[in-house]
């Protein structure tokens, strides 16, 4: 599985570097575009995990909808595009320490819990069974059985968001 490991390494490096650029770049539009790289890499990681549906949703929603909305928002509200100052403040060191600590703790507990476990090799598994267990169809089944209530609550959530968006956007 050297190929898979290699792909993972590449994707991971891209994701991390792009994420760093998101918070360090001085250009807001660039930040949004770096975000696309981050989200795309994560989506590709989902493919590696054989979660095609999740990968598709990741691309559709995050890149297709959210980042595009970001860009629209930037373009409609910023008079000038380009490098800007004032995106940073004196709190960055404290924030960095806090973030690093959280990262350290969470990595630690994850490694502690799952450090020894390995993903099952795909060759030895029955592809049919795998698809039935975690394929797109299985996700659909789960949404309409185990997760029916969450699914319906999401619709209420979206309704609230919709009403809210209209209320806030409306000018008297």
């Amino acid at each position: 599985m050297a190929a898979q490991n290699l792909v993972f390494a590449v994707l991971a490096v891209v994701a991390v570097l792009a994420a760093l650029r998101v918070v360090t770049t001085r250009n807001v539009v660039h930040a949004a575009l770096y975000l696309v790289a981050v989200l795309g890499s994560v989506g590709a990681l989902y493919v590696l995990l054989a979660a095609e549906f999740l990968a598709a949703v990741q691309v559709l929603i995050y890149i297709g909808a959210i980042v595009v909305l970001f860009l629209f928002g930037i373009m409609l509200t910023r008079p000038t595009l380009g490098r800007e100052s004032g995106l940073d403040n004196d709190q960055r060191w404290l924030a960095g320490i806090t973030g690093l600590f959280l990262f350290g703790v969470l990595s630690y507990v994850l490694v502690e819990a799952f450090g020894d476990e390995r993903l099952p090799r795909l060759e030895g598994l029955d592809r049919e069974a795998l698809t039935a267990e975690r394929g797109t169809g299985a996700v659909g089944d789960a949404i309409f059985s185990t997760y029916l209530v969450p699914f319906e609550v999401v619709s209420v959530l979206l309704l609230a968001a919709l009403v809210g968006a209209i209320v806030l956007a409306r000018r008297e």
Partner: protein, 509 residues
């Protein structure tokens, strides 16, 4: 696809849907949808107060459904049950919170009625959002699954973010909405990560399954689970405004339109505690030795910070915001006891608090005046002469918050502190009483301002517009004050209600 292909596909095994179990939710969502549609399609403006009346009727229907559910869960033959694939639990606990949150909706709608007309914001949107937000809160209370908790919380929050920014002409309102939104999303991220960690440690997000797993297995390394606890506590602590996750509270309570603040302080806090109690006290019961010290810390910080900082405020809404933080501390005292008595005390406290806080912010709604800006202590000077009944009502509500006997507030404090004493948390009980003493000073300051005029009173009375008390708000205040006093004198029914509402752990059938 051809029909032949479709016929080949096996039908999905959808769970049985007990419509009755979710009837309060259906009523609330249905009410919101009907109100929204009707308002959009109506040719002419509806009569004054129609939206508020509709909301109150919807809330009353939801309470009626809850009453029927209550009959079912307290019936020894049937008892509590899970519904719709084990995603929600219907027990006394869910019903208790359904009633509490719905009461907050009704009272909030009554307060909003005249407020919206006064501020020139009249429309159905606030009521729709309030109903949707309340739905989210009830979902949180009914949840039997961490995912459901999260979605309920998001529904509750998203509607609240918008409601906080509803006053489009007030900069403070916009500011508070943005602050609430950013910080709320931040805390949701913590919550979600916590859910993921707990799922990783236990293999399930279902409460029954988690509790079963925790009591049946000894974890070799529980770091994952404990980190999950911590992150869940961050997310829920934010919602209930417990220190140190309270930072948003004063600004948002102060900036949001006052009826929204009333709703936020009552329903949102109740829903947050519903989740907190069910997740920690009920589901993670086995690990109580691990989370109780944390709960202790949060309770002490909330009690002290809330009451001490309330003293140095000069804005009444801000004072009430800090006092609500200290109330959260008191409820955490009940949670920290980790016993049925503690939960019952916390529930009693929440119900009593709901009426006290809605009433208090209701008074602030009226005194705030046109523009919703006049919330300084000076606005209350001499209120007893301008509006004696309003001042009296506020005095009762403030005394109740201070925990004066013969009000529901006293009994609420009595029950949570009693539970703490029973659980041998003597230090916590002492700190709680100390902070009650300190906080009493805040309530006194407001009362003094209302009853003691100052020298400039004569001149100010001319410039200060008269405080109007519209019928809707008067009704809400009357209900709040009556509840506070009646429960203070004859608490047995509410005490029994709270005692029978201790959450039950049920696995999916």
């Amino acid at each position: 696809m051809t029909p032949a292909v479709i016929a080949q596909i096996e039908p999905i095994a959808t769970p049985e849907i007990e419509w009755f179990a979710v009837s309060p939710l259906l009523v609330l969502v249905g009410g919101a949808l009907v109100l929204l549609t009707a308002a959009a399609l109506a040719r002419s403006r509806p009569p004054r107060g129609f939206y508020a009346l509709f909301t109150v009727v919807t809330a009353a229907l939801a309470v009626a459904c809850s009453a029927l559910l209550w009959q079912r869960v307290t019936d020894p033959g049937r008892g509590p049950f899970t519904a719709i694939g084990g995603a929600i639990t219907i027990d006394g606990f869910s019903v208790f919170f359904a009633v509490t949150i719905t009461a907050a909706i009704a009272l909030g709608a009554l307060l909003a009625d005249d407020y919206l007309r006064r501020e020139g914001l009249d429309g159905p949107e606030l009521y729709v959002l309030m109903l949707l937000s309340g739905t989210g809160g009830v979902v949180m209370a009914m949840a039997n699954d961490l995912i459901v908790v999260f979605l309920g919380l998001e529904t509750l929050s998203i509607a609240l973010y918008v409601m906080a920014g509803l006053h489009l002409r007030r900069l403070e309102s916009q500011e508070s909405a943005i602050k609430y939104f950013v910080l709320g999303s931040f805390s949701s991220a913590f919550l979600l990560y916590g859910i993921a960690l707990v799922y990783g440690a236990t293999g399930s997000t279902n409460f029954g399954a988690i509790a079963g797993f925790l009591s049946g297995n000894v974890l070799a390394s529980n770091g994952l689970l404990l980190a999950g606890f911590a992150l869940l506590l961050v997310g829920l602590g934010f919602k209930v405004a417990a220190v140190p996750f309270h930072v948003w509270t004063p600004d948002v309570y102060q900036g949001a339109p006052t009826p929204v603040t009333a709703f936020m302080a009552s329903a949102s806090k109740a829903a947050g505690f519903a989740a907190l109690l069910r997740v920690f006290v009920s589901t993670f019961d086995v690990y109580r030795l691990d989370w109780r010290p944390l709960m202790w810390g949060l309770a002490v910080l909330s009690l002290l910070v809330g009451s001490f900082l309330a003293v140095v405020q000069s804005d009444v809404k801000r004072m009430l915001a800090y006092s609500s933080i200290s109330h959260a501390g008191f409820i955490l005292v009940g949670a920290e006891a980790a016993s049925d008595r503690g939960i019952a005390g916390a529930l009693f406290y929440l119900l009593a608090y709901t009426f006290m806080v809605v009433g208090s912010f209701g008074v602030a709604t009226l005194v705030g005046g046109r523009g919703d800006a006049d919330h300084g202590l000076s606005a209350y000077r001499g209120l007893s002469r301008r509006r004696p009944l309003l001042a009296l009502a506020f005095t009762v509500l403030l005394l109740a918050q201070a925990g004066v006997p013969l009000t529901s507030g006293f009994l609420a404090k009595f029950y949570v502190i009693g539970a703490a004493v029973e659980a041998d948390s003597y230090a916590l009980a002492l700190i709680a009483m100390l902070s009650a003493v300190v906080a009493a000073f805040v309530y006194l300051r407001i009362t003094v301002a209302m009853y003691m005029g100052d020298e400039t009173e004569g001149a100010e009375a001319v410039t200060r517009p008269a405080v109007r008390v519209p019928p809707g708000a008067a009704l809400a205040l009357g209900v709040a004050v009556a509840f506070t006093i009646v429960v203070g004198i004859l608490p047995s029914p509410v005490v029994d209600f709270a005692r029978d509402a201790v959450p039950v752990l049920l696995s999916a059938p």
